[in-house]
Symmetry: C2
Subunit: 257 residues, 2 copies
């Protein structure tokens, strides 16, 4: 070990003679960043869009609510790290996850220079079982309309996640990730209404979504409802991929009501 670190130091010194930036800053002086990943996990419960927050049980911002996220180990790819962190802190795994923005203000982390790459996730209301662990004391779903104070610059990150989601959801069929595997058309409509904060006309919404030929109608209906049971549908992933190849562009722009 000693030999290795000595060698490393020696070689870094040598390299610095070549890797000099304009102002003669030694190469290695750039290498003191921490990298973190933060996940904005969206869920859909009781006709509301929620975000999963964790309560910190470690400094800094101990006891504050924050996004699940952590420093990236030196030997882990960014995307892998995001998935791992989410699993470690909340137990969630195999869920939809997409990078949306990097935040790198100098003063955003009190313990040093940390740039963070933010991801948003969508979890099906089927498998909602976040469990606190590691340095997390508790996990809780909060309505995006009623968020608590957040640690670091996490408020800014959540805001950006929400606006990104609202934009993307119109032109990509990601909304389905928030519903259970089987859903009714009115559940789908209610979801989009919650996401976009709009009301749609029922017959027109149905026609639009069905005309896309992206939903698989199952031979099942709702059970134990005190009214006519609705048919259940499923998103047809395979069909979507086929259509995309033919240049089809998903779009649920229906006029608000």
């Amino acid at each position: 070990m000693d030999l290795i670190s000595y060698l490393a130091a020696f070689i870094m010194n040598q390299t610095n003679k070549y890797f000099l930036s304009e102002n003669n800053v030694p190469f290695q002086d750039f290498f003191h960043f921490g990298m973190s990943v933060d996940c904005v996990v969206f869920g859909y419960v009781a006709e509301e869009i929620k975000v999963l927050l964790v309560q910190r049980d470690a400094e800094p911002f101990i006891h504050s609510w924050a996004l699940p996220g952590d420093l990236v180990p030196m030997d882990e790819d960014l995307g892998d790290s995001a998935a791992n962190v989410l699993k470690k802190l909340t137990g969630l795994q195999n869920i939809f996850m997409e990078q949306f923005h990097a935040f790198g203000a100098v003063e955003r982390h009190p313990a040093g220079r940390v740039a963070t790459v933010a991801y948003y996730s969508l979890v099906k209301s089927d498998n909602y079982h976040p469990v606190a662990s590691s340095w997390v004391k508790e996990t809780q779903w909060f309505s995006i309309k009623d968020l608590p104070e957040l640690a670091f610059d996490h408020k800014k990150i959540v805001d950006k996640a929400i606006s990104t989601l609202k934009r993307r959801v119109k032109y990509r069929p990601v909304g389905f990730e928030l519903l259970p595997l089987k859903f009714t058309l009115l559940e789908l409509q209610a979801l989009y209404e919650a996401l976009l904060d709009l009301k749609f006309d029922k017959p027109n919404f149905r026609k639009k979504i069905l005309s896309m030929d992206l939903l698989l109608q199952l031979d099942e209906v709702q059970e134990n409802v005190s009214h006519r049971p609705a048919k259940l549908f499923q998103f047809d992933e395979t069909r979507y991929r086929e259509l995309r190849k033919e240049g089809f562009a998903f779009d649920i722009t229906v006029k608000a009501n």
Copy 2:
């Protein structure tokens, strides 16, 4: 020189593996990232979409073509850094710039663990005067249909930039950033055709774009053309902001021809 940098990378990897024994990682041992910014600068010349590349005059990948980009100093915000780097390497400043993705694979940089945040820029063909400086030997515009081999994972970054641009250009009025301040409607159409790799119907494209009420018709016409001179237009930034507040959504989805 190459030998030294590769040895350094190898040894850093070894040391990292030693330090990062799963549990009980000392806090400071996460802080050895380098951060860089890379800019995919798009231009529009001779009816073609181009990307600005620089030829490296420093290790690693000396003499290779690469994206303009550099390590972020410890005391600089990410966004500022992107603008500064572009200015330093090519002289370009005050141009449209938007972050689109972070790349953080462990092995993406031979000299250590460097995560990069990528931006795309759009420059008006008015002020096309990139000038090589710092560690850049030369700058050159390349058609996106005919790119050379690129250093690092820059090919992947360019590809992502192109697909992002193609998607965004449909729903945000960013295309205008690629044209001179004053342009004709057919120039605008040609630009969108180049961007999306499609052909549009002239009368329909005109109607669509004019009906948006986003263009300011000037009292000027083309000069020195051997045909009927075209009227010049200008993008109306103020009007766009007004319309956005009223919920207007830009959309140039015209059927291909």
